[in-house]
Subunit: 391 residues, 4 copies
């Protein structure tokens, strides 16, 4: 196979050359006297990507899944009641983890293609007069369906009900790509990972923790047994500019550069860039006869990933396999109940219009190879015209 | 500062150029149809470094500390009694984790500089007629003191007592560097990490699990709550050649090459190489007036790290700081009660005789700068003569 | 700017990741006892890309221009008569060099868009009964106009005339990409460079020399003063596996891998791949209203680069500048008399169909931005359909 | 073989990590509209390393040998008389090139170990009343013998004689490492290469040209035929921020960083650093029984390379081969008449004290393996004590 591979899965995302270079360094001494001079500003600057000032962001050597667990075990106790909704593979897995860790999950089933049912959340919170619900979980961006939920509305529901429950947000495929405001939205536990909007390889789990959640974690209230993910060790060492166990220094060096890129551009500009690239993709999809977004309504459409139903009779697995094997292009597969019915185009991270025109071309070719009767070039043309006007 | 940095901490270790190159790749699709063709043999080959055939080795996106936790939570339950000994910073931290996770730790205090008290272990196992002890923990190589314990002797003690307890081994600074035989020694849970003998950056925790431990993990017997580190998810996905959550693919590509290097050389040859380089270092230390190993007797001397007491009146922190700031050389610090009294030279991983002569030179200069009355070149000369004869 | 840059100039070409990795190595000793074990097979294998068995290929630390000079100074003398044709910027520069070095250039002017006038060559060779013409120069692939000449036909003309003149070929943008047969076609001096089909950075000039030319170079016949590019030093040292002056070892390591890639694929397959990708581009151009190839007839169309006239009233410089600054895509500019009138798409080296669909998209957008009335997506669609059928 | 290779040849030198990273980039468009924004300051800044303000520095895709040729062909004509001295392999090769290119070489033979005979030069210049001598050649640092000549004294001799001859300096292993002042010393043609003090791979030849030499080159006076190395093309394109033929962009990106490192440190500090490291090496050599410098007197000792006679009966080739094969350390070989009698330690470029202690250890081991009766550690000890006091 010749030329480059084309990666359009919704994470891990393409790593910019600057970040690759920053990671390609000899091993260093993570207890060197000046290592803290590197770590301390890093821990400050990642807070800017989460948009929190009074909280902390922990950096775990783990995947985002590990940060999910850290969020739960440090703030909740076995048997605690939590409110969750399930509308895709990742919200499903999160609920599964919560159950495994012993939480009492009040789970709302939502049809895939829709997102967090804010009104239902509001109703249950309103009804929970004795505050049995300890935490409300929201999947900000359901990566499996390309659906974005409204975090701010959930915060409003909590406030309207005067409910003290913690607000947990899975922002893995959102933070660093689409608008996210930990402080302004009162998010208590915000989970992210290195391999999406942060444009790094997988290997770091990020957890933004509000002042309120830090207080609860430090309090005597019952919590789960934990050690690797315990906040207290992280806090103690982070405050000196070090880590409680050997950190993946290469990834931290890469994070330094990716934060420099993001903050140098400005988070608002980063979000806007994602919105423009995503809209071009949607314009393309709209041209493909028989294809449609899994997102059930415009309000749910995600700017980081589009999940697309293939036309009747066209197996999405053929599209994905063909794109990969014939056109060296990785698309995201349809997960769980979407298997065979949908495929996904990731459009987050380090991308540009021409890369997406390539991805759309690969998709058009793979769709046609798989039997779809779309018009060649139709989607690319729509995307081109949108990009011409908006870049 | 000019020229290269010299890294002689006992991990993370120097990453070979071949491994660095293997990791410096564009991001790839960890769900690609052929990704399993890469993962399946990798999971087989890492078993060869652990010397196990009937067990499994799990690869976690975590530090070695995470693998400690995985070993405990998957096989033991809250309140289970375990036998441990504490003779350095890492055995101390492991015992602390066990306590935090709710184990009933039967802790034997051993003077630092000595290793696992096998006779005492044997006595307690013998006395434990009703098998209240569920697991025996052994720190194979105590990185803080440069002390290696005799795992095989602990196995013999278990067998002599006919005791069914699981044998846990912290092999983080041992496996891949000094003789380790998971299968032959009947080790049930063997913890390692990417950043020591495996010559990779930190970021992967390895856990070798015996068939017996796998069976216990899969059984209905009570265990701790766990999700991120749960064996069952790993087994299910690993069996298909994939991982339950996004793996750090770059590190896996690096692991492929480091395993190729290690297995290509042969584990016995790897161990022998470490033994020769270590002995050269000890010959040097023996020449330094007023210095001596923390290891209290030759039987405890580690071939992966030497902890060295500075002469009376010489603060080890000055040696370390001087080596780092004036000679661009990182030595390991004295941890906990050894702070200021000892420093460490890591001699594991990708090293050679000339690198160690450089490290010994830096140490000699830093020792003299810090006030030690050692003879310049004395240690280097002894190492040189040893290396000349044994390489 | 985000995402990757898109490079579609006709060289330097995209460097494959495997080659980049091979070049990213610590400096090595180019006089090490085993360096020859690397060089000797390299010098053999590069001959396979030139398709010569009885000749040699010299590797100069220079650009391709340096190899032009080496070819001339080692085999010709001041005042020697040579036959050349000028039909683009590179054949023009070559003729200029020949004049500067003191050759008596019999220069045939050909309208740009056409290639080597074989019949005219044949006529002049036929007429040259006393063999005053010492060498015949042919630009295999005129990079400025996207025109490929017929080397074999020139050889036939020489043979038909029974003419002993040396056959010089500028194969810089041909060798390694389109069919080239040094031995079979009786090419005496074949010039190439590292930065085109060989997929390396610039920095190596390659010169394939036939047995006949080597003999002339070694003979007592008058030649030009030369030192840096002298064959004799190269031959003497190359025969031992070394070089007469410090070679760019990183580039040589990269060359090893690029040859492995090319020869592993097979030269015929490499050529075929270029033909397919090129035809897709031409299908796209054919759809663009008002655009046409500079190549005046199908027989001249190059499979490594297409030069394209912009529609009336559209300044090609605007297209190029827009593609670069708005779409991060580098196209080739119109050189000399083509400035403003044409732009070029390089389609040689490490490319694939999706990369070219991206390049065509960028071109379509830039053309429309510059005022061209082409139909969006029209070219991409044609290319897609061609690639679907031929890959 | 494990661990890193140790490179202590007098060039190519160790490439700093920062420079390696800067070179490891995707291919770029060397005709991009903003490429000149990179090139123009680069061409200015390299002048600071040559210490010239009124001249130019040309950057050729070639080795340093190519820059030798460029210097001659652009300013001298066939038959011109030049004054040269021969006292090592590189001054010998330079004289050979001059002869080949048709110069009338007035060659002074000097015993190897000594440098440029300034008094003899002065005498001949004084005697040359009609200024038949067109140029005076000086090898600043004879890399084969580790001998540095006094350029300033040669300038004084020229001035004292009121002689207009051009002053050519081979500064390949000097410029960027030891004091060099093109402007102040009135050097007309100063040759350097990327692979020594500039800490880059080989592949760039640098040529500093004085205003006077530029004027001569541009004048109508007879010069040699030249094309690849012609000043006029370089001047024309460099003045626009581009190059006349495809430049090795990766090396230029590396040069940017190496100049940043050098100029950031300050040339005087760079020179001082070389002086300190060199003196440590000489202190070591002085301890080795039976060894002595090839440099015949302290005034000739080079701060970039030491050539060392092995003790009677010890073949230097054994030392070099042993160091390479057993200790992974590359030393420089004895060239020409020094073959078997001497070896060389390069101490220029990106080095530090601990690297040199390693090199000295390797040398001590290899010397003893080869039969030398030196005291182990003796040289390293002397170097250590010197470095302790002077770093």
């Amino acid at each position: 196979m010749h030329g480059i591979s084309h990666l359009f899965i919704p994470g891990p995302t393409n790593v910019p050359e600057e970040v690759r270079r920053a990671m390609n360094i000899p091993m260093e001494d993570m207890r060197a006297p000046d290592f803290c001079d590197f770590v301390t500003p890093l821990l400050q600057d990642i807070k800017k990507a989460f948009r929190t000032e009074t909280g902390r962001v922990f950096i775990y050597p783990s995947s985002g899944t590990g940060a999910w667990e850290a969020a739960i075990t440090n703030t909740l106790a076995k048997g605690d009641k939590v409110l969750m909704a399930r509308f895709g593979q990742f919200s499903l897995l999160w609920a599964e983890m919560a159950t495994r860790l012993g939480l009492d999950v009040d789970l709302i089933e939502v049809e895939w293609g829709n997102g967090t049912p804010v009104e239902e959340y509001a109703a249950r919170l309103e009804a929970d007069k004795d505050h049995a619900i300890k935490a409300v979980f929201v999947t900000h961006n359901e990566t499996a369906t390309g659906v974005t939920s409204d975090i701010e509305a959930v915060r409003d529901a909590l406030d309207a009900a005067g409910h003290p429950a913690l607000l947990f947000v899975d922002g893995v495929s959102a933070i660093g790509s689409i608008p996210f405001e930990q402080e302004a939205w009162g998010v208590d536990l915000a989970v992210a990972g290195s391999q999406k909007g942060f444009m790094l390889p997988a290997g770091l789990g990020f957890l933004g923790v509000s002042a309120k959640a830090l207080e609860i974690a430090a309090s005597d209230s019952p919590k789960m047994a934990r050690s690797y993910f315990a906040f207290e060790d992280m806090i103690k060492l982070n405050d000196t500019g070090y880590f409680p166990y050997t950190p993946p220094t290469q990834l931290l060096r890469g994070l330094r550069v990716s934060l420099d890129l993001m903050l140098g551009e400005g988070m608002e500009a980063v979000w806007q860039r994602h919105a423009v690239l995503a809209e071009g993709v949607r314009r393309a999809i709209a041209e493909w006869e028989g294809c449609r977004l899994v997102a059930a309504a415009p309000e749910w459409q995600s700017d980081t990933v589009s999940a697309i139903y293939t036309p009747e009779g066209v197996d999405a697995r053929d599209v994905i396999f063909g794109a990969y094997s014939k056109y060296r292009t990785s698309l995201g597969s349809g997960l769980n109940k979407l298997a065979g019915k949908a495929f996904r185009i990731g459009h987050l991270g380090s991308l540009n219009s021409v890369m997406l025109c390539g991805a759309l071309s690969a998709t058009e070719m793979a769709l046609r190879d798989a039997g779809a009767k779309i018009t060649p070039g139709s989607g690319v043309a729509a995307a081109q015209e949108y990009y011409r006007a908006h870049i």
